[in-house]
């Protein structure tokens, strides 16, 4: 069974009413299978109710709780104390907000602009292809779905976008690209040309430097870089 651990959490704080930003240290004694979201709640209840942080499902399914722990973007609700100690080889953790949007307070990031980049890639069927089967469902062979189904698992936690060396100023980000690739491959989408245009627009795939940082951090273990690369290569094929 897991043992209690004495941890030091240094948390990046920001107060919007004064504009002040600082690092605050908390010492927490916690059981090995507590998750980092549990730790933050524990700090609120036992030490400092003013610390603000984000989460929702706390089941690793919604992507609300992404933070950087010792520089690595990850889901706080999936990080167990004992795993963190093992993986990072320390009991001291620097916790900072993700970098895809402005910080509202402490670890809470405003996701409006980040999501707007995804929405710009039109995460819906732009123009449905006529259904050859008439009224009912489209028929899609599971084999036809294989190439893109993994990309549909993305929960928009923006860990990949945080890790991406091509920043959000010039690049829409790997998850946004992926949402467009899904519909490019989905047989129900008719607006393929528009999809190519979106992918190769001014903030599009050209900004990817194939570093694969995105795949490396994705908590859903999606090979994000593969899909970004796919978007590039599909372009080549189209030209040919």
């Amino acid at each position: 069974m897991s043992q209690d651990q004495d941890l030091t959490l240094r948390i990046r704080r920001y107060d919007p009413s004064t504009g002040r930003s600082w690092l605050q240290e908390y010492r927490v004694r916690a059981g090995g299978i507590l998750r980092f979201t549990d730790l933050l709640r524990k700090i609120n209840t036992e030490q400092d109710p003013t610390l603000a942080w984000n989460s929702s499902c706390e089941h690793g399914q919604c992507g609300s709780c992404a933070v950087r722990v010792n520089g690595k973007p990850l889901l706080a609700c999936e990080l167990l104390v004992e795993n963190a100690v093992k993986e990072f080889g320390t009991k001291e953790f620097l916790i900072e907000p993700i970098t895809v949007g402005p910080v509202v307070r402490d670890l809470v990031v405003d996701l409006e602009v980040a999501y707007r980049r995804v929405e710009g890639m039109k995460p819906f069927i732009i123009r449905p292809r006529e259904n050859p089967y008439g009224e009912g469902e489209y028929r899609i062979d599971p084999k036809e779905m294989d190439p893109y189904v993994d990309a549909t698992r993305c929960i928009n936690c923006f860990c990949c976008a945080t890790a991406c060396i091509s920043g959000p100023r010039s690049f829409v980000g790997p998850n946004a690209i992926m949402s467009c690739v899904v519909r490019l491959l989905d047989p129900r989408e008719d607006a393929k040309a528009e999809r190519f245009k979106l992918l190769h627009g001014p903030n599009g795939v050209a900004h990817c430097h194939t570093s694969k940082a995105c795949s490396h951090v994705c908590p859903k273990e999606i090979d994000v870089a593969h899909f970004v690369r796919l978007a590039k290569s599909l372009r080549l094929k189209e030209k040919a």
């Binding site: 036992e46 109710p49 499902c57 069927i125 259904n131 469902e137 899609i140 929960i155 989905d186």
Partner: protein, 598 residues
């Protein structure tokens, strides 16, 4: 205090949707699709609608394809009725079941990535309680998107509504419903990101705010499910229906409460107590682990109550074990890979070599704001509130009665979302009545009082005490004495909360302030659940009274609880709709007050 207690802005729209989960977004999508140019605003407490709790639903979505050679809508209606322990309203059951398949096609045609069979058609799976021919054999009735059906629905709906120009207000919460005379004319919304209060005027207001699972210590529900809707309703004099009808899933992973699916028991998992005794043999000698959900949940809780549980040192929660070590490697790999990965990820346990900690986890609220079959909110047994709708888990139509079948909630969201939209559209040509002059006053009174307290006790510690008492006294087991003890503790906690002093003093993203407000809503929800449980002196579905262990026919009726002031309740009753029974026909007798035996 320098905080400004005023409405910063008044916005007008046609339809205001409070809550952007599956129910809210389906409603929005219908209106935007059918009425071009209609102004729809949706408010969500999370940072983006995609983060709503519907996104975590895994298993599937039940619906009968009218072309199916073996399954029939009438079987689905029967299963729902039987599962509900004869408390679902049959007019609602009929309407939802008959509309189900159309909704599946609606989603599929708009890009939902349903899992497919080899012919490329929608694949289907079985689920507990869904049968063919009135209980004969399991029905393959649930369509699904792998283990992320709810997410598939949310992604599709989100895409559709942004395509058609919805306006979202993210990370904000409705704090007050606004009325002009008897008509609902909108709501006050607080946005922590800006620290501002907005009044939104609307011709129709739709409540789609989800559940209240945070009332309990162990729950599958998200952090935002704090029963805000129940508080909003009772504060304006509206009743809550069947609040005591709460569902507990027998096997939640301790401590995060994550669902460990029934499959664990069906593949041969054995429940063990601290002495490693396979205790189900004592409770259900024949069925053992395969006994129905509620029986298994009670067996586990009994073991824990009688001191045969194990204390988890990290979470401080008592639990029992499920033993999967004897199962062959291929079962771990092919039949339970997801749950096995949850155990690994969230408690660092290897299902192949270690015992896994589980305990019943609060899962779903069958009770909620009473509505008719169009989602129109009721203020009495038959009295409608004009301009106000409620749909999804926050509502009680009642499709689930006292026990919800797996996969029936997602079905309810999308069908009721559409019905409410259709009804709301009938009245959109009317003029928009003005807001009441005191709009916001109730919110300001509350919020400013939160800054007045001075005691050192934290919101979090009060919340933990509420969760503990509700889990222990108004959870899987209930009895009169325990419920009364819980009620008096809730009253005490309410008083302590009023004295609680907040450390964060401004309105900007003040998490402590939001949680303080949520604590009020949680205490209200807890009180409603406890009061409903106290007055229902019988056992039915998810509601089990040790002092009245049988179902009793004088309680073949819904509870209505009114509570304008905390703890001061008025109880009323509403008959169960028996349309299917009363219409007669060859299957009428299946829809009488039948026994719920499996």
């Amino acid at each position: 205090m320098g905080n400004e207690w005023k409405i910063s802005e008044v916005i007008s729209c046609d339809v205001l949707i409070l809550g952007a989960g599956g129910a809210g977004l389906r409603c929005a999508a219908e209106i935007l699709e059918k009425r071009l140019g209609c102004r729809v605003i949706a408010v969500t407490k999370v940072s983006h609608p995609q983060k709503s709790h519907t996104s975590t639903a895994q298993g599937g979505l039940a619906a009968v394809d009218p072309k199916d050679p073996v399954d029939k809508p009438i079987y689905h209606m029967f299963d729902t009725w039987k599962g509900s322990d004869c408390m679902a309203d049959q007019n609602v059951v009929k309407r939802i079941v008959e509309a189900g398949w159309e909704e599946i096609l609606w989603l599929e045609n708009r890009g939902m990535h349903f899992s497919r069979d080899v012919d490329g058609k929608l694949a289907r799976r079985t689920f507990g309680g869904h049968t063919l021919n009135f209980g004969e054999t399991s029905a393959y009735r649930a369509v699904f998107e792998a283990d992320r059906t709810g997410k598939g629905i949310m992604d599709t709906l989100w895409g559709e509504v942004i395509k058609r120009g919805i306006s979202f207000i993210h990370q904000s919460m409705a704090t007050e419903l606004l009325f002009n005379g008897d008509r609902c004319v909108g709501a006050v919304v607080f946005s922590p990101k800006s620290g501002k209060f907005t009044a939104i005027r609307a011709k129709a207001t739709v409540l789609a705010m989800g559940g209240c699972g945070q009332v309990f210590k162990i729950t599958t529900n998200c952090r935002q499910n704090t029963g805000d809707h129940l508080a909003l309703a009772v504060e304006t004099g509206l009743p809550v229906m069947d609040p005591e009808a709460v569902q507990f899933h027998p096997t939640g992973i301790v401590g995060p409460g994550i669902l460990a699916s029934e499959t664990l028991r069906s593949v041969g998992g054995i429940l063990r107590n601290k002495d490693l005794e396979a205790f189900m043999e004592r409770y259900a000698p024949k069925m053992k682990e395969l006994a129905p959900r509620d029986l298994v949940a009670r067996a586990i809780e009994t073991e824990i109550r009688e001191g045969r549980g194990i204390l988890n040192p990290s979470h401080g929660i008592e639990h029992v074990w499920i033993d999967l070590r004897h199962l062959p490697e291929h079962v771990h790999k092919t039949q339970i890979p997801e749950v096995a990965s949850f155990f690994k990820k969230f408690v660092n346990v290897d299902t192949r070599t270690e015992l896994c900690p589980i305990r019943p986890s609060n899962h779903y609220h069958m009770g909620g704001i009473p509505t008719n079959e169009d989602g129109q909110v009721l203020k009495g047994p038959n009295d409608r509130v004009s301009g106000l709708f409620a749909i999804g888990e926050c509502a009680c139509a009642s499709f689930h009665g006292f026990n919800r079948l797996g996969t029936n909630s997602l079905l309810e969201l999308i069908t009721m979302g559409r019905f409410a939209a259709q009804k709301a559209m009938e009245d959109l040509d009317q003029e928009l009545p003005p807001l009441p002059p005191d709009a916001g006053s109730r919110t300001f009174e509350k919020f400013s009082s939160y800054f007045a307290g001075h005691s050192k006790v934290t919101v979090g510690s009060l919340r933990e005490r509420m969760k503990a008492v509700m889990t222990e006294k108004v959870g899987v087991f209930r009895n009169e004495q325990g419920i009364k003890e819980a009620i008096s503790l809730l009253e005490e906690l309410k008083e302590e909360a009023q004295k609680c002093g907040l450390r964060s003093r401004d309105l900007l993203m003040n998490q402590e302030l939001v949680e303080r407000w949520e604590l009020d809503n949680l205490l209200t929800s807890a009180m409603l659940i406890a009061q409903g449980a106290l007055h229902r002196r019988e056992s039915r579905g998810g509601h089990f009274r040790e002092d009245f262990p049988e179902r009793r026919s004088e309680f073949d009726r819904h509870t209505l609880v009114y509570m304008e002031q905390f703890g001061k309740v008025r109880i009323d009753w509403k008959p169960v709709d028996m349309t299917l029974y009363e219409e007669g026909g060859p299957y009428a007798e299946k829809f009488g007050m039948i026994e719920r035996k499996y």
